[in-house]
């Protein structure tokens, strides 16, 4: 019964697209506008690939806003989120160089953020070497 119902609900998804968002599109926006833009894309059944990453407080606000929307937006169950950024094993000078480059470019442009609606993206398997997107059938 449970499996049957789930199949029926997932059947409502008519398709999805993968949307790439360059950092230049959000660079000049404030935190609230950035999050609104991202959630707008995700709510349109899109998997978003964002160049760069959000600030840590924006990431947590994104989770907060996502939670606030569950139950208020039809069929919205939340998001799957992953950030790929370097290998974390850099030395002091390399970190300093990267920090300076980030400050000049306005963010960690070497990073990639993937955000998808939970109704489409079942899981993002993430380890230091690879990232796998598992989709709902």
């Amino acid at each position: 019964m449970v499996a049957k119902k789930k199949k029926k609900d997932l059947g409502k998804i008519r398709g999805f697209a993968i949307q790439f968002l360059p950092n230049s599109e959000i660079r000049d926006l404030g935190s609230s506008e950035r999050i609104r833009k991202i959630l707008g894309i995700v709510l349109g059944n899109n998997i978003l690939i964002l160049q760069g990453r959000l600030l840590v407080d924006e990431e947590i606000r994104l989770i907060e806003d996502t939670m606030a929307m569950i139950g208020h937006v039809k069929n919205f169950r939340g998001i799957e989120l992953a950030v790929i950024s370097g290998n974390g094993q850099e030395g002091f000078f390399s970190k300093m160089k990267k920090g300076l480059a980030n400050a000049l470019s306005g963010g960690d442009l070497g990073a990639i953020t993937i955000i998808g609606p939970a109704t489409i993206v079942k899981e993002i398997k993430h380890n230091p070497k690879k990232i796998e997107l598992l989709l709902n059938k």
């Binding site: 449970v2 119902k5 789930k6 609900d9 840590v56 407080d57 990431e59 947590i60 989770i63 907060e64 996502t66 939670m67 606030a68 569950i70 139950g71 169950r77 939340g78 998001i79 799957e80 989120l81 992953a82 950030v83 974390g88 094993q89 939970a118 993002i124 398997k125 993430h126 380890n127 230091p128």
Partner: protein
């Protein structure tokens, strides 16, 4: 006048030291079902005889922030007083249908999901109020979860000392090294909250972190 100002200044400093050392706010954060409440219960039971909250196999059992005031933890002859704050698990998605797998009825599952979303928001709001945060992770699960990284990133930004706990080391699949590799800049202590395994190392780390408060 000068004496009065100096007197106020020193009394404020001493009051703050006294206040902080006497009631350290110790928060338990992490993803759902990692064992935050189990660990908080273990500590509270050991030092107060009472538990802080209910535990269950169903995720999001803790759906609102729970407290235990004035928990005096004694370790190697020293005593520190903590305010224990057990928080709901932080997640990026909550689907009521996931609860149905645990034989929770549909109406109850929907209610649980609604409360769980509120719980996540409440957990996040409490981040600013913590003195020390214990991140409880399930050592059998992949630690490279963005929620874990986001919570730790926010604690670092707020300059809140962090201790990472790899819980459930009693299970065969537990992999503490993987958690250590995921967070190389932090102390990772492997424990079993369920069986009270390796809690000595946990207390030692907490007492060490308390010096930074």
């Amino acid at each position: 006048m000068v004496i009065k100002i100096l007197k106020n200044f020193f009394s404020r400093i001493f009051f703050n030291i006294f206040k902080n050392k006497k009631n350290i706010k110790l928060g338990f954060y992490g993803p759902p079902n990692a064992g935050k409440t189990s660990l908080a219960n273990r500590i509270c039971k050991d030092f107060t005889g009472e538990e802080i909250g209910r535990v269950s196999k169903v995720p999001h059992e803790t759906r609102s922030v729970q407290f235990k005031e004035k928990v005096e933890i004694e370790y190697k002859g020293k005593t520190l007083t903590f305010k224990m704050i057990d928080t709901p698990g932080i997640a990026t998605k909550i689907d009521y249908e996931d609860f149905l797998k645990y034989k929770v009825k549909k109406k109850e599952a929907k209610k649980r999901a609604k409360e769980a979303t509120q719980g996540v928001i409440e957990s996040i709001k409490w981040l600013d109020d913590m003195d020390i945060v214990v991140i409880v992770l399930d050592a059998t699960k992949n630690p490279y979860n963005q929620v874990n990284i986001t919570i730790i990133g926010n604690l670092v930004a707020r300059k809140i000392p962090v201790l990472i706990i790899a819980n459930k080391i009693d299970l065969k699949k537990a992999d503490i090294k993987k958690i250590g590799a995921a967070f190389p800049e932090y102390d990772v202590v492997g424990i079993s909250a369920k069986y009270g395994k390796n809690l000595e190392e946990f207390y030692e780390s907490i007492f060490k972190l308390s010096k930074k408060v």
